[in-house]
Amino acid sequence: MASTRQTSQLTTQALRRAAGLAAVYVFLIFLLPANHAVMHAHHLSAVDYRTLLLALNLPTMVAWLAAFVGYAKLRQYVQLVRKTPEGLYFDKLATGLVWLAWSLPIPAIIALLLDSLANTWGSFYPAAVIIGNYTRLIFPLVAFSIIGVASRDLVSLAKIKLDFVSSRIIAVLFLGAGVLYCLLTFQHFNPASLTSTRNPYYLPIWLMVLTIIIPYLYTWFVGLLAAYEITLFSRQTHGVLYRQALRMLVLGLVVIIASSIALQYVRGVQPRVDHTTFDYHMVLSSIFHLIGGGGFVLLAIGAERLKKIEEV
């Protein structure tokens, strides 16, 4: 069993990483050249532009800190219960959350660099859009795949059967959101040509469907199902105090999954451009980041309570 000192080091380490990534992000905001088109459109000086960009991204960076602390707290708990029957699955869950936490800063930093390169070399713009879109997809895809396996295993361990009505509600919710996503995405394409790359995604429609839309839909379905399965597991678990802590952790997890899906949805529907847009997408993105950060805080509180049960 890991010592208390070893486990608390995880939080310090995670906080350092998040702070380091936030510092890199702030450094890049002030180092990379400002976008002249945006400065001109909003009548901003270079300093105004950078200050505004920093102010609008502050909630996002707070969410990064919460995310890193959240996964570190879960990792601390997992270190204490690794050898128990449910420990293996919580370990997988924590790994999925590590990917989800890293899915916040890494694509943001890459996007900032790509935007800057595209601003300097116009011919790089299509490549920047394509790389940016795949970077945003890959992290949640891996995260939700791992979380999905963990939640399935937890449900199997507890021998829980999925409720007929609830699984139908998930299917309808997924279908509704998926169809709307396809509708909003396809309106940017020319339906007369399946191979044309003259669209905001710079990909032919068939490649867009196969490598972006289907993976996103898969990710959301796995995410929704995982949220439901983990909720079921927390309801079926015995122990008043254990269940209270587990429910807090699960509530955090559900909020994280829901906000992550919403964030991917907003970003997926709105095609990427080579500069930061100061519009409602940015506001929505900040709101979902903060909600996700709140989810990670709940998860951290739940994990801390579960850890206390294993330490007292």
Binding site: V81, T84, P85, E86, T237, H238, G239, V240, L241, Y242, R243, L246, R305, L306, K308, I309, E310, V312
Partner: protein, 94 residues
């Protein structure tokens, strides 16, 4: 002569604790016995029970501020302690 190990007593304590701590109950009791009574959980005897209950009350109080839950838990443990004491008295009279 030291009291003999009582496995059903250990299982009884874990069973009651499971209502509050679920799958963590066994590990919790093992820790309490090892850390506070300085013996292996399998060596738990009825003579240790009252001391253990006192420690369990303190430990569970660290986990919740709900005093009703703590009192309910302790009350269940005292019932177990009474059950353990009854057969002994019976044997003593015969």
């Amino acid at each position: 002569m030291p009291a003999l190990p009582n496995y059903s007593l250990y299982e009884g304590v874990v069973r009651i604790t499971r209502v509050y701590l679920g799958p963590a109950a066994g590990r919790f009791i093992d820790r309490q016995v090892e850390n506070h009574l300085h013996k292996a959980p399998a060596e738990l005897t009825p003579a240790d029970l009252m001391v253990l209950i006192d420690w369990l009350k303190i430990s569970v109080s660290h986990l919740t501020e709900d005093s009703e839950i703590v009192e309910e838990y302790v009350s269940e443990l005292h019932k177990l302690a009474d059950e353990q004491a009854k057969p002994k008295r019976g044997k003593g009279k015969s």
